[in-house]
Chain length 805, copies 2
């Protein structure tokens, strides 16, 4: 157990009192109490709900131990001086820690310090003012289950026992409190008219939008969280699967061609558009509702706190018009159209036929976007349009350029875990109009043509960057971003690879918006229910600032860069920047080693072809392939080269993009190389996925949606290596990814490339390994070709950027 | 996909119409419609919620395909004759099946028959009356996600759009409909006074009871589901773990002793009890509430249907008085006390100090108990007291005698997966008073004494049945049962082994109550969210009958015995009885074989001792041990004997208890034998656990608790054997489990025993195997002793009861 809380706002005593009054802990009766023990008892009585009798509250308080031999009720009733130890004995039990299991009585303060839980700097014994201060801090302290004590109290009904008693929104310590009744949420659907006609039916596309908003929004406007999720109206898993591409196909020679970027640059054609629909009526009342939406628990958390939540799946999804495009400007427009409507700048209708307009009259016009993966991608896409109303994005595991999702340096490179997927497959998967057979019948032929076009334009033949991919590259337009950005990414995310976030982070440095970055040790996951980090609280601070305009020091308190350590569990370090190292380690490739100074004259070679049985085995078992790739004397020993440094003298932190230069020849007139940087050394490493600590322990409000508390734990077994990062390149894309370089068999060429960016803590005594190979079973095409690669060591080296603290 | 629905009540046309009127599908407008298409459109319009506009409903209807080239809106508006195929094209889409994925248009009726979905016997084209009949049947038909269509409509808001419009309770097709607003549930706590003082504090034990009831129960009384769960106030996992017994201990010679049962029989001492509390006031209003309870989804389902749900954890749990006992009569009393209060026959108070009485004035006095494992056990325990008010139990995976949970024939035999657990460990685990340090401080010494007594009395030394276990044997009192019983058990439940349910089933045959039995292919699981079986609907039929007194043919429609087939997925067969076979197969043990006629004069022997490294490996990896035990030429080949029949000529069904006779000698004056009956033969068998088919797909009401749809699928890999059943015996308990027989080394003794009862489908061509061994790594103590066992084949045989249909 180690707590990392950033979102506690320092406050002066006067304001603490004012805020405790708004929470109804302090009232005229309580303020008259002049005995510290009596005051603490008063707070406890209130914590156990006004709606329960004093006998019940007394029973609950006497269930708490205050000292070795006295329960809290008897201790506080004695009205002796209140010892600080007793206060924190009680406090820890309120935070869910158990005496005799988690801590021993009277050892509370030292345990809190060990766990990094904040202890008020009261004197001992405590004064009434100090009880107020310490109680204020306690309410903002994380409990055993990763929630602040006030959020925990909310989940027991503290606000729900009388929602009317509390002002709305209720801001406590800079964050919005769950004072909205989630049983009374209004659920309605509208159809936003986008300025495009992607299904070419002669009518502008109408897009289905699902809205959840507190009933209080009928009276005063509320901010909005908008999640654009192409998945949330259903997916076509079977037909997507069928479309998945064969990947056991050979690499071929590409005809050399030299392009200037401008020749492949995407230029938006201004198509002739149908007229907007005539508005034939206006209403404030929606006509359609919906049941259980596909939700994100962070949104659920904010629904209890007075934010509206809006989901829209976009063009080509069930009950919307249009066709799917996988990330093109049309899809961006189908997201910004919703924001424009939420900000009062676009028309929506109550249904698809009557042309009755309905405005987002309940919205305060301030919109944040949320969500992960494709859902995060559409945030970045929308933000780069500079659309009005979009104040911030919490963009998690987002793609910043679709080429970086499905390709790498002139090669087809699949997102980890999804071999054979491509833009066309994803389009088919998300084309949920298909699920309504009556609707699909009318659009089927157009859709099949659209799909055929995507398949052609994505060009799996060359793997080159082209106009199709340029249209899907949001990095070109980062300069337009006006929204403050929170970027969250897994350093082990081999689905949406870290380059996507690093490019965006670097580009945003030049843009006058506030940007925050979180890099965690997970793969492709959410991080809003970790025991060790108050991510949810930080997002509350952030959105309360950005959407409600509350001055709460969000920009200052939330670190610019927060990176989870990969060695010590539950450790989140903060930095000013990422991937800006000024120092680097340089190594020359030597026989089996990486050396700082020695240079070898040798050439080493490997062949990419495997025995058919081995090849077949690896196609079915990537774990086995990865093991054999990285371990000495495996079945792959002739199919790759491994170079290792000597054991490191000190802990070392890789910060950013490792640069690899090799001088290489293929015995064919084509070829590809893959590089993997590896941490070699025995250690108990973090689990790949966070483990469930407490199933469904977190309630996002009161008897509302639940989430399971999670944490990365140390694995039980010692492992002897871990992949740090990787990269792939087609040897004919040495210059760039849109031109094709000439290549002859048995000729040496210089190849230089950056591996995926990372931040990695190497432990003293470990070795850095560079593995050079060709076919990546999990990601590249797999021709199992008899290609021999030779590396000229003399001209081959690696440069590793180092964080120097 | 194969549907097995038993809970559809046959109904005549007149009553179908009356019920559809109560559901508001039929009303004066609808009854005037004389065109079949128009009537079906009217039903569809209603299905898509009155609260939505006609434009929206039209949009939904036109999303459905009615024929190859016409959507349902256009088809029904044409008002041509309604073809039966079109009706079922539409119906299948309403049931969640997708055109082009699950079925092809116009192939609907044959697909429904293939999937065992009921098709109304209308003519073609359909008349309006036939549309009414078919719609009625459709509402009662399971959809793709294992729910009836009306339950699915409820989850979209059909009833919630206007709860007031529907009578309460609303019975449709014999089952209670979800017409109660689960957002308005009343949640209250009372303290029931039990007639015992288990913590000997001079006051009768007060037991905390958590109640959830619909707000309508304020006006008219409701039936109650009561779940007695010792776990639901928390568990002490760490201290339970610490108490877990060492099992790598040797078997020893036991001093022979011959008891008559009466000598070890438990006699309830009538202890002198404190006076009941003086009632110092009366109220109808509770003083305590609670937040998220530890719930069971079947209970949640009934909360939406107007049943109250009551949870109580019993003596020694958090906020209750008393001490844990693991299954003794005191614990039974702490469950029946709650029932007595619910039936109006016992006192409860609003808190533990004020003596203010509160009655269950909202209860109709009819109580059912629900829950699995310990929760099921307490049902059986309560039922055997004949307590008034308890009308029925739905007892799942329940223990009927605690000896059969922790012991077997004079041996310590752990519940599968819980080596070293015993009655004392479970008592400590569930003693959740410990979690309130202020309360625990006051009771700690008494508890430690109690725990010490349990440890002593459970007697791991001999493993014999004794007075301690006799007090925890509910089978003695089955004759007192007055409640109708539903028994549910896994045929692969090696935690609570099948003997527990078989003994109860046999004993209940002599008791004049209605008993139903469900045997599934799972381990220790719930079965209320299977795609292939309408268990939840059956329980609705059952409880609507038993607790609301509705005559709905529950007794007739629910089969007496329903057994899931272990060969064909999604197949549930029905029988009149279980374990009553009149036919049996008899085999003699021969060299490596089981022969019908040939008798061998040989003696075969095996030794129980393993190499230390092998022993250590097996203690950590039961899968590996089980594999080596059952496979030829494994590391265990000298440590067990395997006898196999020749390949079976026909499919064969084992029904009940296999009887094993062996003539055996040990080279020590002590010894134990284990037997495992095995199905040898290559097959793709069912998965051990049900697989999630759709995560959280089932809603138990409207925006209420969610459950994941599950099903046993065929494993992807072929396996060559599967354990059928097993048994264990101490060779000194040849006569019975409470006396100890004499035993000398190297002397042959006759041992006869019954293996755990089963029902098992053996496929033609498979072989039946009997494996004879001693140490069971997963269940028995493991002394790794050098003991040599010899089996005299001539006097050894096996008798297998066969279901003869």
């Amino acid at each position: 157990m180690k707590n990392n809380q950033f979102a506690i706002v320092p406050n002066d005593f006067k304001n603490k009192k004012i805020e405790l009054e708004k929470l109804h802990f302090l009232d005229s009766d309580a303020e008259k109490i002049d005995k510290p023990c009596a005051l603490l008892k008063e707070f406890l009585l209130k914590a156990f709900l006004d709606s329960q009798s004093n006998a019940i509250k007394g029973q609950k308080i006497s269930g708490i131990l205050a000292s070795e031999d006295e329960d809290a009720l008897s201790y506080l009733d004695d009205n002796e001086p209140l010892s600080k130890i007793a206060f924190y004995n009680i406090a820890l039990q309120l935070l869910g820690f158990q005496v005799g299991v988690d801590f021993e009585i009277d050892d509370s303060i030292s345990k809190m310090k060990e766990w990094n839980l904040p202890v008020d700097n009261s004197k001992d014994p405590m004064s009434t003012d100090e009880v107020i201060s310490a109680w204020y801090l306690l309410l903002n302290t994380h409990n055993k289950y990763g929630q602040t004590y006030i959020d925990y109290l909310a989940s027991t009904g503290y606000f729900a026992q009388n929602y009317n008693k509390f002002e709305k929104p209720l801001i406590f310590n800079g964050k919005s409190m769950p004072v909205y009744d989630t049983n009374e949420l209004i659920r309605e659907v509208v159809y936003v008219e986008a300025s495009q006609d992607t299904d070419e039916d002669g009518k502008l596309d109408l897009l289905k939008v699902e809205i959840l908003r507190p009933k209080e929004s009928n009276k005063s406007s509320v901010p909005v969280l908008f999640t654009a999720s192409p998945y949330n109206q259903g997916t076509n898993d079977e037909s997507g699967e069928k479309l998945t591409h064969k990947v056991n196909v050979p690499l071929k020679h590409k005809e050399p061609v030299s392009y200037k970027y401008d020749q492949i640059k995407f230029k938006d054609k201004k198509a002739e558009l149908p007229e907007p629909r005539n508005i034939e009526g206006k209403t404030r009342k929606a006509e359609q509702t919906f049941d259980r939406e596909a939700s994100y628990t962070l949104n659920d958390y904010f629904l209890a706190r007075g934010f509206a939540v809006v989901y829209s799946a976009g063009i080509g999804t069930k009950e919307s018009d249009g066709l799917r495009t996988t990330g093109s400007p049309e899809e961006t427009k189908s997201a910004t159209a919703v924001i424009e409507w939420l900000a009062g700048n676009r028309t929506a209708f109550t249904n698809k036929v009557d042309n009755t307009e309905i405005k987002a009259w309940w919205s305060n016009g301030n919109v944040a976007m949320t969500g992960r993966s494709y859902l995060g991608t559409l945030q970045t896409a929308a933000a780069t349009t500079g659309v009005d109303g979009l104040k911030t994005c919490i963009s998690e595991a987002a793609i910043s350029s679709w080429y970086d999702y499905y390709r790498d340096n002139g090669l087809v490179v699949a997102p980890g875990g999804f071999q054979g997927e491509d833009a066309d497959v994803l389009a088919e998967e998300t084309f949920s109009r298909q699920q309504e057979a009556g609707d699909y019948m009318k659009i089927k032929n157009k859709w099949l043509t659209q799909l055929k076009n995507i398949t052609k334009q994505q060009d799996r033949e060359t793997g080159n960057y082209n106009t199709f991919w340029d249209a899907r590259n949001y990095l070109k337009d980062v300069k337009n971003i006006k929204a403050d950005m929170v970027l969250v990414h897994g350093l082990n995310d081999w689905n949406v690879k870290p380059r996507n976030v690093e490019n965006l982070w670097q580009a945003l440095k030049k843009v006058p918006v506030e940007t925050k970055l979180f890099l965690h040790q997970g793969q492709h996951i959410y991080i809003n229910a970790f025991q060790s980090l108050d991510f949810t609280d930080m997002m509350n601070l952030w959105l309360t600032n950005k959407l409600l305009g509350i001055k709460n020091k969000a920009n200052e308190l939330i670190p610019n860069v927060t990176i989870q350590d990969n060695v010590k569990p539950e450790t989140w370090n903060t930095y000013e920047d990422w991937s800006d190292a000024e120092v680097s380690l340089e190594y020359h490739l030597n026989e089996n080693s990486l050396m700082s100074s020695e240079i070898s004259d040798s050439k080493l070679s490997f062949n990419d072809k495997l025995e058919t049985s081995t090849f077949d085995k690896y196609t079915k078992n990537y774990d086995k392939w990865r093991k054999d790739l990285l371990e000495d004397n495996s079945e792959m020993k002739n199919n790759r080269l491994i170079f290792k440094t000597k054991a490191l003298d000190d802990d070392t932190f890789i910060d950013g993009k490792v640069n690899v230069k090799v001088n290489v020849a293929s015995d064919q007139n084509y070829g590809m190389l893959s590089f993997m940087l590896v941490d070699y050394g025995d250690a108990k490493r973090l689990t790949e996925s966070p483990q469930s600590v407490e199933y469904k322990r977190i309630n996002e409000g009161f008897l509302w949606r639940e989430d399971s508390l999670r944490e990365f734990k140390l694995q039980k077994k010692t492992t002897s290596y871990k992949k740090i990062t990787e990269g792939h390149i087609n040897l004919q894309n040495r210059t760039n990814n849109y031109s094709v370089d000439e290549m002859e068999a048995n000729t040496f060429y210089d190849v230089e490339m950056e591996l995926q960016p990372t931040f990695y803590h190497l432990t003293k005594g470990h070795q850095i390994g560079l593995v050079v190979y060709a076919t990546d079973f999990e990601m590249t095409n797999r021709g199992n070709q008899d290609i021999n690669y030779s590396i000229n060591l003399k001209e081959s080296s690696i440069e590793i950027p180092i964080f120097d603290n």
